[in-house]
Symmetry: D2
Subunit: 364 residues, 4 copies
């Protein structure tokens, strides 16, 4: 409600006169009212409202992290806001169950009235993808690569203007790069981790080779697995070979940021790392639930329209199916699991570092 | 989008210029913007959009059942629409999980700006309650019984106008009353059911009394249980004593409708009763999930504001807690379970009736 | 509880002495107890219990449909049991959220103790896949194609013995093939449907070609879409070209069964088709939620172990990802959507057939 | 699997020979097999398995908090384990949806075979209630107050032995009581908070009294609300009157613990309080979702058996309904919301305290 000086009521506060009078089924306008078109409109309107909220949270977190310093108070606030984003994503997934009450045959009753209007034209969804960190080059092509063809002039402008803006991926990467602790006087994480890993691999090899209970062919298989893991660690822990993978777009985080994320994951129980660890875990959730939504959405579209082209001339299901994996943003964080070694084999932190990673309020 | 002749786009179809520009946080207008007020607004707007859809389905079902005859084709359609209502209710419940990401302390940042606006003023929610069949007299009182005090003039009119309109409860009751089969030439359901029940009770009694494995005190307990059940059946199966309970508002369905619902529930596998049974089961779901939403809502309000009075001067949690059970509409259908006897003890239908309750397409 | 004559208690009925004493964390046996191994065991045990129930329902439905005649009473019962299967699948999906509380680092604390034990060895899950109708040839290969290598001798036998048994796909296909109504004296569904489709396509073409509002390039795009649809319909509606697709494993249902499923979907509101339609819709749900579970499961495994080989020497995520789509059973029913035309353009049924598809209890 | 030296397989690891062979439908033993009894058994067995896991987490958290000192590393671990408990509770709630696929009529097919076995006899559920902190005196009575009558001798002993054991409530209360910061040289929380509250109330009063837009009757209502809040604060903030409420069992936490919880909630964004705040929020979740499960369970029982006495001679629904609210443990934490004042009106912390509540790793 605009500030009119009138007394605020539930209806005026929520501007329900506008919200509840913005559903105009096209089938009705055309004299062939289809009962389910109202449902189709409202489902999509609620999605767009949630997208607005999603962006409200996302933008506020980017802002808090954008710059050369993040106030520690903002870590807790950011986690809370990203956890809300995750809850919104879960709701978006549940909402597909509701949408699936629209039978394909009932959809056909008004589908023709939609013309070329299509979900691809959601500017807010493009913005979400961009603000999370999806790069333009990473996007699956459609419309023969003319990404903007679907949009009207004003929306084209909006979508194009996104390119220059900071993204969650960027600000998190820079925050990770600033993590202290990884190379202190008494402790070099990279060096120690390499050593621990080498020791672990050596022990595994010895155990396998000396085990009487394992058949020869399985022995070979297991040794191959170890060799693979060894090669993976060597590539990822070395800054130069890491950079090659990055240029090939296999990895995306900078080496420094990647090591910091690994450090936080491994020593997550240290008091000072407990919240940063939760932040990383929440980013994984954000990515995972959006991926799940994409997949569920693709499956629903398949069930609804089969393999026909979707509204808006897009091939629908095929495009959607491809974006499920391709549009992930934080896959480097998923990859971290490959780099973990068991806690019992972790490098021991020196006393000085342990102290830095703790709290000492009682003695201050 | 109004029919302007312009080409339909996703944005114009969904009227996103209105939908996405109808959020005006009051805290912002007052110069103390609270981040979470946007969330509070959008959560409630999506609820109102779902209420609109809920009513769209509910009204269409009432219309299909209103009158002296229901086209059999509409049974399937009605079930599908009520199942959508159930899915909407489930989503409404999930949405509370999202709402709970609003911490009480953050709510306080903008709560004062809401003045006396309150969820009690939702006209659509009142309409849902009424259209389901909640009677005005059945409502929990608030505002010292002045039910309309909270509403502005226009909304008061809307809420009052609901009183004369047909409800789901009414039309379902009349449809049940028209069920054939309960008193045919060869079969009187009420009489047969009473007889079967009496036989069952007699057998149970004999079994208990002659069982050596049961202690005396447990025997007494079990016999008491049987006596209670017997008395309950006697009351409910007799039209006159049933009517007394109805006048006391313990029961609400007419005796005829109640017996029909019982018959459908017991012989639900007969081909012709399979869909009516699903209709009754779906009505139970509609009632149950709305009840669950009410309860969950009350619990959330308690967590959010504690025992303070809610916005709008209502005592919030207490009122909400009371309506959870009190505003149920189809509790008679829940009570049916008390009246069931085991399938192995059911009256046998005569051959003529079995034929009537089957399909014979293959031989037509 | 075995029938011992003792008085039944909650604990003896549920055999809790066995159920609750069958968790033996290997890490504990090895003197390095890992807190989370108990969780890992219990999660998988509950999955296996649900698999047992899943099979209990699935087998009972196959049995009811196996043969040359299905009692109409069993349609309702089968739907109810398959809906329970769907609810179990939904729970299986929710359970992954619980499983994801196991952090990758904590999993490493006991992972080595699992040796080559692996989820691939779940005999019950193989049985579910088979009983739904997954054909042995359709399966994604692993272990270099030696499908049985992972199993012990007894389990190998169990898995191999599945091959000869009837599947849900088979019995449903035969039931569909027996559908009357598709070729009656006054109505030939295939012929009429082809005609209606041709008429619709012609109208669409005329509309597009004569529309002044559409650009030339879009016109071409739309006409191409129509041509594609036309060719798809021609192929699928013709028994011979259909058979070619079937031999290529693009389609699987027999042509007769496919047409019957299409007929039921299009005329689902006719009283006699309401339950068969619900059965088909439930089969879609069964397939869709199992697919969703597979996808979610694959994503969870990726998050847990990254790209490392899984326990049991399998490549984990890659294999799982492939089965998501490949192991679908009822994809022909999903494809039906491609074949639907709008209700307003459907062939009209003749009066005789309408009568056959209705109920006439009131006049019997 | 017991450590037999044999190679571990999926089946032997999970002891599936026991898990999957512990379902003995009583109806089958009696020669009248009821299809759904298997389902009834498996639903309850999975519940008991989850109860075991619930206790596994709960006991580990109690152990970490039991004593005079909690290692800060354990805060993060405890939160993670309690969040798993919350996820288990959510799954328990979802599982009721599965259970509701058991129609009341189908339940009757085997209900008689259950004799007096009853869910009340679940020892593990009693243990969960106790370990959370439910006091024996607080329990709703049944069986005419003979709480142990239902249990066999062995189970009676188990349930009675719970009385002496530490509970989550106890150890959390003691941990809260040890919170430093509430009374430092430069800052007395209780005193400052009282002052801030008094100032806020005074401002509110002035605003209401001087507002021309509010009607007289509303003014009175609002002033009454303020007076109520004032009186509530006075009672709760004063140690002596607080103690009276505690003796009346209206409140349960010690005054010191209550103030600490309030302090943590109000200053939750201070770096050192971010994790303690999350711990409190998780305890609220644990309590809330168990409450929701109880409610949902009661509703399901009502739907299943109506108002008949439950198996085991209990009155089922009535008892269950009463425990929903009565058996809550952390209701004091819910009440905290009533005590919050808006952030803009909070007492300012002095610089020394702010420093204590922050991290200083960069300068150490």
């Amino acid at each position: 409600m605009r500030n009119t000086g009138e007394r605020l009521t539930y209806g005026s506060y929520l501007e329900l006169d506008r919200i509840l009078n913005s559903q105009t089924p096209q089938s009705g306008l055309s004299g062939k009212p289809a009962h389910d078109e109202m449902f189709f409109i409202i489902v999509h309107q609620t999605y767009e409202l949630w997208f607005k909220q999603y962006l409200h949270e996302l933008n506020s977190v980017i802002e808090m992290f954008n710059g050369n310093f993040v106030d520690e108070m903002n870590i807790g606030i950011s986690i809370a806001r990203l956890q809300r984003v995750v809850e919104i994503e879960k709701l978006m997934i549940e909402q597909i169950k509701v949408l699936e009450t629209l039978a394909p045959l009932d959809f056909l009753d008004f589908r023709n009235f939609l013309g070329t209007a299509s979900g691809f034209q959601s500017v807010q969804f493009r913005e979400i993808e961009h603000k999370l960190g999806l790069k333009h080059e990473q996007r699956e092509k459609y419309n023969a690569g003319d990404y903007y063809a679907d949009y009207g002039a004003k929306d084209q402008q909006l979508v194009k203007a996104l390119q220059g803006l900071p993204t969650l991926f960027d600000v998190i990467e820079r925050w990770l790069e600033r993590t202290p602790f990884l190379d202190t006087e008494g402790f070099n994480f990279l060096k120690s981790y390499r050593a621990s890993f080498a020791k672990m691999v050596q022990e595994d090899r010895t155990m396998i080779e000396s085990s009487p209970a394992i058949t020869e062919s399985e022995k070979q298989l297991r040794l191959q697995m170890i060799a693979k893991t060894e090669s993976y660690f060597a590539t990822v822990l070395d800054p130069e070979s890491y950079e090659v993978l990055r240029e090939q777009c296999v990895l995306r985080l900078s080496h420094k940021a990647c090591l910091a994320a690994l450090f936080i994951t491994l020593y997550r129980d240290m008091p000072i790392l407990q919240m940063p660890y939760r932040l990383l875990a929440t980013l994984l959730d954000v990515d995972e639930y959006l991926t799940l939504w994409r997949y569920r959405h693709a499956l629903m579209v398949l069930r609804m329209v089969g393999n026909k082209m979707g509204t808006g001339g897009s091939t629908g299901n095929d495009y959607l199916r491809t974006t499920v994996e391709k549009h992930k943003v934080f896959s480097d964080l998923f990859n971290l699991s490959t780099l973990l070694i068991s806690r019992s084999q972790l490098p021991t932190l020196d006393a000085e570092l342990v102290k830095k990673l703790g709290f000492y309020y009682s003695t201050l």
